[in-house]
Amino acid sequence: MADVVKLPEPTEKVVVNLLRLANTKLPTDVGWALEAAAGWETSDTAAAQLGAIMENVRKADLLARPMCQDTGIPIFWVRGKFDSSIVKDIAVGVEEATKTIPMRPNTVDPLTRQNYGNNLGEGMPIVHFLPTDDDFTEITVLLKGAGSENMTKFAMLNPAEGREGVIKFVTDTVLDAGGRPCPPGIIGIGLGGTADECVAMAKQALLEPLDEENPDPVLRQMEEDLFVKLNSSGLGPMGLGGATTVLGVKIRRAACHTASLPVAVNTGCWATRRASARITATGIKYAQGVRL
């Protein structure tokens, strides 16, 4: 989607707009990747699955309905200039969007399973903060459904396992998940850091547009190798067989302890739904992919 510019609005309204955009319009980079995949699939079953997905994407857009009933848990990143009041604004936006879009109320107490009814509750909304000296406030949201999120894996590999160990761990994670995370999707990988940072990087990697190259040539090569390997596996759309298991692989890296090789995999389903709004004094610019 081309960037859309709008006049300034209250932050909670921007959050509702972001949630509506992410729920109803598949990011163009993801849509292009699906169309390309449909072009090279030779299996009838796989082609039919991709066809059903693309038809659904068109209908969701046309009817302004959430493309998937699992509207997920919205995860936010705030970058630029902001103060602590933004958390309240985001919470208000989430509650409002749950009613008006509508989104499925997904948050429950982990033990009693009692539903909060508004996609909020203890510890919600999840917001990551990236303060900078820029003259804008940028809010990004990723909608994370449970089908893909439940397949998340993290490992502390031995440093001796090296690059090959990382490739094997990612491959096993994706193939063992089978059809459960709604392939073909995006494989987000965190490499290094500490346990918490590694998983956070894997998720953040899902925000990056598929048509933007990783600036690091070493990581870019690993992404390409994994892309070819996973798409040669035969798992296919929905795990029913075919040539398209992933639409993209994205790796983020941080330094780690000399005794550790942390690696995390966080999968985005085919409906990797994301949206960003960059708010300045003169307007708001919307986009559906960002490298943070």
């Binding site: 059903a52 493309m67 459960r180 035969g234 795990g239 389903c269």
Partner: protein
């Protein structure tokens, strides 16, 4: 694409071929983790379960529903959820409720496949995330049980109209498309 009318007879499901693509019309009922658990608890206690579950086409789905000012429910989005979460619960549902077809995504365990073979039940794969298209196939809402479980976990009753496309991914012979794909996976 062949359209089949629910409820299904044992003969109907035993004639379905692995890989065949069909659509379903007639009564379809949703059930996820919590509805499975509650049904089994009621059966254990010898108490009645919603009659609609008997011999049903069970849809692993937590839809987005909207209630009008007049109190009428409509379905907004209704794609399948991951069936594997119900692996431990489904054998008893099939045996004791006579479930004839399970609609979901991602497939189910070998244990479920064996019970499907024994009792005459198939697994129909819906396209994950194709929630707007699948909601069209569920146009008429005929009732709801256990709303206290929340929108996603409640038992929603639908009158389906050409719900699909659905792939026969586990048949009544114990075969599974997922298992066949898994056996052939290239991990090299």
């Amino acid at each position: 694409m062949r359209n089949l009318n629910a409820p299904f007879t044992e003969k109907t499901v035993r004639e379905l071929k692995l890989g065949e693509v069909i659509s379903v019309s007639g009564p379809v009922v949703t059930a996820r983790d919590e509805a499975h658990i509650r049904t089994l608890q009621l059966l254990d206690a010898g108490k009645p379960i919603p009659a609609i579950l008997r011999g049903a086409v069970l849809y692993h789905c937590g839809p987005i529903m909207k209630k009008s000012a007049e109190g009428v429910w409509t379905v907004i989005a209704a794609g399948p959820t991951t069936s594997a979460r119900m692996n431990k619960l489904e054998p008893r549902m099939i045996r004791e409720c006579g479930i004839r077809a399970v609609i979901g995504k991602g497939g189910m365990s070998a244990e479920v496949a064996a019970v499907m073979k024994e009792c005459g039940c198939v697994y129909l794969a819906a396209t994950g995330g194709a929630a707007v298209s699948l909601a069209e196939g569920l146009a008429q809402v005929t009732g709801v049980d256990w709303e206290d479980l929340g929108m996603a976990e409640a038992v929603w009753h639908f009158q389906a109209n050409n719900l699909g496309p659905l792939v026969v991914a586990m048949d009544t012979e114990g075969n599974s498309l997922y298992e066949q794909v898994r056996e052939r996976l290239n991990r090299a």
